[in-house]
């Protein structure tokens, strides 16, 4: 038994929970629709407000009708009663206490009833049919004729006090309920005070009232439905152009610069469309202009490249010819030749990097990405810095995964990034080891380059990606970097949709992390490798973390158009 109850209770709770969840779901769905659809909101608001108005209006109307109906009935009833009182008085003249009062009353009642039905026939009574009651005081009294029990005591008291009074009273007669308008009036007689009551059934009025109520109800509902429909329709007229404008704006933002709104008529919406179109045209103009600037920049870059490189080639060849026969020169001349050739190397590297970064800035660089294994690229980059690393006495350690780590990358750029990072690490490692680690997860590959040299002071991790920034200008440059390597690497990483970040702490070395998505246009969430090396956690207080500034071109503030 107990188990049955428990099972029942649990079933009920489960059901309640499900109902609750369903209700919550509905509420949430409603909330979402409420927030997102202007049309829905306007329709619901209109419906709610007009329901209130229709309700109040209906109540007032009904009240008015009821008052008017009862008032008419009452006046007619009172007039009728006065007539009947006159008849009764004439019948009761000369009655004395000793007479068999009940019999007399019965007789009078019969008279009244017969005259009432006669009136009915002629249709003279405005108050309609009635039921008369005559009494000579007191509900307990036997001296009465007619259904005295139907008359409420309150009314009797008024009549006994010689007042004409009316009351609306519902009487339950063996299950059938009838509402009467009861008029009580005193009848002047010589003997005991006699009261006359006329009971007018209000069936007709009630019928009228219920018809009116039904009409009001149906009318109100129809009105509400119509209002909802109308408000829905009207809102749609406004909302539809707004929605199409929103869709057009979204397409415009998606790159379809030719997207415009159709302008029809001269109303507010067409004015909105017009100013939107003007805005779109203005933006398009500016974008075109920027594109033109880009093209100009590209041509300029290419021209500069050619114009600078041709004389540089001649100088370079001349210097090399001199350099080749420097043994025949006196010492000063020979050394000058050497300096000339060395500085030409630096000049060339600087020119190359400058052109590269100006092309990256102009956004004319394109990613030649293909699906390749990242490890060989890392190995090639390591091979290229092997010599300078050997000169600096910094061993390069490689930590590559055993399985292949294919990713969609531009091998030339990634190799350049890694070369720059490695050269930078060797430059600052003070003869310590440099460690390159490669790891991958589902969405990204990461490569960290760690050195154990001077490290970075707080705040410097963001600065390392700045152009021509040097941690310590007095330090001698072993690798002869141009000062643009990390800035170019940063841009190269961004071109891949990846990130290049730096961590460093004074005396604990630095760690650079390159994270690239495994597939282009598929963003990654977290890097497979931590930026802060495990042995660097302890020095977090003085460490510095940075990912470089954003060099994207700011679009000029749009000119405001007069909307009129």
């Amino acid at each position: 038994m107990k188990q049955q109850i428990l099972a029942y209770v649990s079933r009920v709770t489960r059901l309640a929970r499900r109902v609750g969840a369903y209700g919550r779901g509905r509420v949430v769905a409603f909330g979402v629709l409420w927030r997102q659809s202007l049309q829905f909101r306007v329709t619901v608001s209109t419906l709610a407000l007009s329901s209130a108005v229709v309700f109040v209006l209906g109540m007032v109307l009904q009240n008015q009708i009821v008052t008017r109906l009862t008032e008419t009935k009452r006046q007619a009833a009172i007039a009728q009663t006065q007539q009947v009182v006159a008849t009764a008085e004439s019948e009761l003249i000369g009655i004395s206490d000793q007479d068999a009062l009940p019999d007399r009353l019965q007789n009078v009642l019969k008279k009244i009833t017969s005259s009432s039905s006669a009136d009915q026939g002629s249709g003279a009574s405005a108050a309609g049919a009635y039921e008369p009651v005559l009494t000579a005081g007191g509900i307990s009294s036997t001296d009465s004729a007619g259904a005295i029990w139907k008359v409420p005591e309150g009314l009797q008291r008024f009549a006994e006090a010689n007042l004409v009074a009316t009351e609306i009273h519902t009487i339950d007669d063996n299950g059938s309920r009838t509402t009467y308008l009861i008029v009580g009036a005193p009848v002047t007689s010589t003997g005991r005070p006699i009261q006359l009551y006329l009971l007018f059934p209000m069936t007709a009025e009630q019928n009228t009232l219920s018809t009116v109520q039904n009409t009001l109800l149906v009318g109100g509902l129809v009105l509400l439905v119509l209002l909802a429909g109308i408000s829905n329709l009207v809102t749609r007229q406004v909302v539809r152009p707004v929605r199409s404008a929103a869709a057009a704006a979204a397409r415009f933002a998606g790159g379809e610069l030719d997207e415009r709104l159709p302008v029809t008529g001269e109303d507010d919406l067409s004015r909105l469309a017009m100013s939107y179109n003007e805005m779109a045209a203005s933006i398009q103009r500016q974008i075109r202009q920027l594109e033109e600037f880009g093209t100009l920049q590209r041509r300029f870059t290419s021209d500069v490249s050619h114009e600078l490189r041709t004389p540089l080639t001649t100088v370079r060849m001349a210097a090399d010819v001199l350099h080749a026969s420097r043994e025949q020169f006196p010492a000063g001349l020979a050394r000058s030749t050497e300096l000339l050739v060395d500085e030409l190397d630096r000049f060339e590297a600087l020119l190359g990097d400058l052109l590269e970064i100006s092309r990256l800035d102009a956004g004319v660089e394109e990613l030649a990405a293909e699906m390749i294994d990242v490890a060989p690229v890392a190995r090639r980059a390591v091979e290229q810095v092997r010599v300078i690393a050997g000169n600096a006495g910094s061993p390069i350690e490689l930590d590559l995964p055993e399985e292949e780590t294919p990713a969609e990358i531009d091998a030339r750029r990634v190799e350049r990034i890694l070369r720059n990072l490695l050269a930078n690490a060797v430059d600052h490692s003070e003869g310590g080891p440099v460690r390159l680690t490669l790891a991958a997860n589902e969405h990204a590959v990461a490569i960290t380059v760690r050195d154990y040299g001077v490290g970075l002071r707080p705040g410097e991790a963001d600065l390392v990606f700045n152009r021509f920034w040097r941690a310590d200008p007095s330090r001698n440059r072993r690798t002869g970097g141009t000062g643009l390597g990390l800035a170019i690497s940063h841009e190269d990483a961004r071109l891949h949709g990846g990130q290049l970040e730096a961590w460093g702490a004074p005396g604990h070395g630095a760690c650079f992390r390159l994270t690239l998505p495994r597939r282009q246009n598929e963003p990654f969430e977290d890097s497979p490798l931590p930026l802060v090396p495990p042995d660097g956690e302890a020095v977090n207080g003085q460490a510095s973390i940075g990912s470089g500034a954003d060099y994207s071109i700011p679009v000029e503030e749009l000119r405001k158009e007069d909307v009129g």
Binding site: P311, T314, A324
Partner: protein
């Protein structure tokens, strides 16, 4: 006998410097400053190699390259100031065998020139088969069913390299070393472009090659005879 190099360059200083360097290395040189005069000079002087600057007045370097290729298989080495992928590929596709990006070192240039002039001297009489082609190595002739197919020296070298080891798959790096003479990894686009050019001449249907087969992810190999 000295090899003759025709230098087509509009920059007088660079042209003179090139002359000095090449003469110093034992080449005979002639200089043309205008693209439109390159073709008459080629016919007159019959150089062993053309050193062509891509940016030229009169006639675009690419057009000069195409014009030369139309009537001669002479090795062409481009001088280009741009490291733009598009320009280099365009140059190679219009018939250049190799390229040097300015600014270059004299040694680099001389190495490129020597690699293109390198002729396998006094080769033994050797006949190779690749696909349905027959190669007469000393005669520098490739025939299909008795009909000769004209190839530039570079294309010929590329085909011979593949045909000599019919079962070996050549990576692009290995081909760069054997055919172009690069010691360390260089631009593998050279190989891709020249394989395409070679195929357009020797394949019946370049879309479905039977002579030079691609081995995906590795490189190329010779088609079975």
């Amino acid at each position: 006998m000295k090899a003759r190099v025709l230098v087509v360059d509009d920059d007088p200083a660079l042209a003179e410097m090139l002359t000095i360097v090449l003469r110093g290395e034992g080449f005979d040189t002639a200089v043309v400053a205008d693209g439109s005069r390159a073709l008459p000079a080629l016919r007159e002087l019959k150089p062993d190699l053309v050193l062509l600057d891509l940016m030229l007045p009169g006639m675009n370097g690419i057009d000069v390259c195409k014009a030369i290729r139309a009537e001669s298989g002479v090795p062409i080495v481009m001088l280009t100031a741009k490291s733009d992928t598009v320009d280099i590929v365009l140059g190679l596709e219009s018939g250049a065998d190799d390229y040097v990006v300015k600014p270059f070192k004299p040694k680099e240039l001389v190495a490129r020139v020597r690699a293109r002039l390198r002729r396998t001297e006094a080769e033994p009489a050797e006949s190779l088969a690749i696909g349905d082609l027959t190669i007469d190595v000393p005669g520098h002739e490739v025939t299909r069913e008795g009909k000769a197919i004209p190839l530039t020296p570079l294309e010929f070298d590329l085909l011979v390299a593949l045909a000599r080891k019919p079962r070996q798959v050549f990576t692009r790096e290995v081909l760069l070393e054997q055919v172009w003479g690069y010691r360390h990894a260089a631009d593998t686009r050279l190989v891709n472009v020249h394989v395409q050019r070679l195929r357009s001449k020797v394949e019946k249907d370049p879309e479905h090659p039977e002579v030079v087969l691609t081995v995906r992810g590795v490189g190329y190999k010779a088609g079975p005879p």
